[in-house]
Amino acid sequence: MLTWLKIGFLNLLQNRRRSLATLGAIAFGFAAISLLGGFTDYIFKSLEDTYIYAQSNGHLSVFKKGFLEKGSLDPGKYLIEEKELATIISLCRQEPEVVLATPQLDINGLISNGSVSTIMMASGKDPAATNRIGSLARGFTARLKLFKGSSFPDDAFAKAGISQGLADKLGLAPGSEIIFMTNTIDGFMNAMDAEVIMTFDASIEILNDLYVSIPFSFAQALYETKGADRVNILLKNSRQTLPLKRRLQKIFSAQGLATEIFTWKQLQPSYSRIHNMFNVIFSFVFIIVLTIVALSVINTVSMAVVERTRETGTLRALGLKRSGVIKMFASESAILASLGSLGGLLLTVTVWALVIFFEPTWIPPTIPKEVPLEIHLVPWFLIFTTFSMVGLAAVAAVIPARRAAQMSIIDALGHI
């Protein structure tokens, strides 16, 4: 085997220029795939982190069965009652994988600046939990400040964060006084004063004229309930999302609770859309790169096959089998691909280091703010790319090598 690798390697050296050209194609192809893969990984991770940490939604959300389909028509019927809420939260807290479980209550109604009023959608979350989730964020999400003004103190009550579009419409800024007018759970009209402490850009444009953030206790007061419409659960590790969903589902049904649990992926429909979009882009690039690499390898090996026809005939005369001829050219091509992958790895690491050094920024599709652009080095993905390149090169070499293997020995020996 060593001799074959040596023959392959020495032959590659003998045709340095041609080998370098193919090696370059493989190296750039490798870098293109792994950089795009690293960027895609960054996109997916930041989508995940933004939803889970920056928007403090957690990994899992527990709803009363049917809430997501019918809850908006009859919210009272699909609310988690006070006692159930306490049970759910205490059951969640018994799980070692759970960092925290916190209730949320969303309400609709009108918001007024004293003279004009307009419709709004308010999300009531516990400020202490929100602050804690934010403090656990990793990467740039930890440094991300998505609002103007100050954040909610842990014990905030009649305070509100207003989306920028809504603030502009009503002429509001941090410090402004506002009035919330909502229905109570029993259908009565309720109105309460509050103070604007922050403005922010909503993650989706259509929400920017509607969305309001308030403390959970204030939402409960406006709606006159002790219940919540969901419990958000933050986990230690994202990988536990599905196992814990299944586990909690079992625990809750054992307790006779009619609940449904959804993962952050299910609750963030844009995630799978963006995920699919990047997968399509990635597949395109992947296929194009692999095609270029395959063509370049086929071209190189075809030339080598022609040049070394007499050598192949000689080796066949000495007893090399047809399959051996194919193995010889395939392993030569695999050596080339390994070296090319090594070059590609160096290129990738160089670009990665440059990105870290220059810290470029951009505005991603889901965060209305300039954030650092990153490229992740994903070890398993680099390994996968290397194997794809080496495997592809070996397989592509078989096409021309088969011609060499099928040639009659005397024709090959007679070749000049």
Binding site: L10, T314, G319
Partner: protein
């Protein structure tokens, strides 16, 4: 008794050709390169195949070396008709039982003399230590121990052909086929090469079949097969008592 019966088996010919014919297709027409070849070659013979250009010398050497298959007839080696072997079996047969010496030496240019000699052993999966040891000793036999680590392009034609002889001998095959091994060498070197082959023929008992169109080289041979237009017109055993003319 046992020994005697073994002795009787011994003269079984190394190779038998029966009614062998080889035609080449050239477009619509077919060229008959060899026809009506009947031949037996015994273990230990030193055979020269000679004749003018185009007489079929290479074709005959290729058939005997199982580099090629006959269009018609049988070639029997070790009791087996080679036409019935698969390509892989023929490859194994060549690796174990045939050595080749070529007109243009055909050494692998990127390998050293020693590595070239090792090749047939490497091909059958022999360890590097064992094959290097064998190759070194056989290189010494052909007088090239000091050139072992040189690449072919650093050797003269005569030296390259001696490396090729070492490569052919390293597996200790019963048969070595050499198609015009001296055509690319000057006459003095050519004679040295034939003498070298003759030496191994004597010392190891290896059967040599070589082709040439140079009558000067026929002095030393034990048997001459003369070809003309693809037929054997003369088959003379010179060193043995019997003289046979076909």
């Amino acid at each position: 008794m046992q020994l005697q019966s073994n002795k009787r088996l011994d003269p079984m010919p190394l190779i038998t050709l029966k009614q062998v014919k080889r035609c080449y297709r050239l477009g619509q027409t077919s060229i008959t390169a060899l026809s009506d070849i009947n031949l037996q070659i015994e273990q230990g013979e030193f055979v020269a195949v000679w004749g003018p250009s185009g007489s079929g010398k290479s074709t005959l050497c290729n058939l005997i070396g199982t580099l090629d298959n006959p269009t018609f007839g049988q070639i029997i080696v070790n009791g087996r008709n080679i036409a019935e072997m698969t390509d892989a079996e023929q490859s194994d047969h060549r690796n174990h039982s045939v050595g080749f010496i070529f007109q243009r030496f055909n050494l692998i240019s990127v390998l050293t003399a020693l590595e070239n000699v090792c090749l047939p052993l490497t091909l059958r999966g022999e360890s590097k230590t064992v094959s290097s040891q064998k190759a070194r000793s056989i290189l010494a036999d052909v007088g090239l121990e000091t050139e072992a680590d040189r690449r072919p392009d650093k050797l003269s034609g005569g030296q390259q052909q001696r490396v090729a002889i070492a490569r052919a001998l390293v597996t200790e095959p019963p048969l070595i086929v050499a198609d015009e091994p001296t055509a690319n060498l000057d006459s003095k070197t050519a004679e040295q090469i034939v003498a070298l082959m003759r030496r191994f023929n004597h010392s190891l008992g290896t059967t040599f079949i070589f082709s040439t169109h140079d009558e000067h080289l026929l002095k030393e041979v034990g048997r001459r097969i003369r070809l003309h237009d693809g037929r054997i017109i003369e088959d003379i055993v010179t060193t043995a008592n019997e003289k046979q003319v076909c």
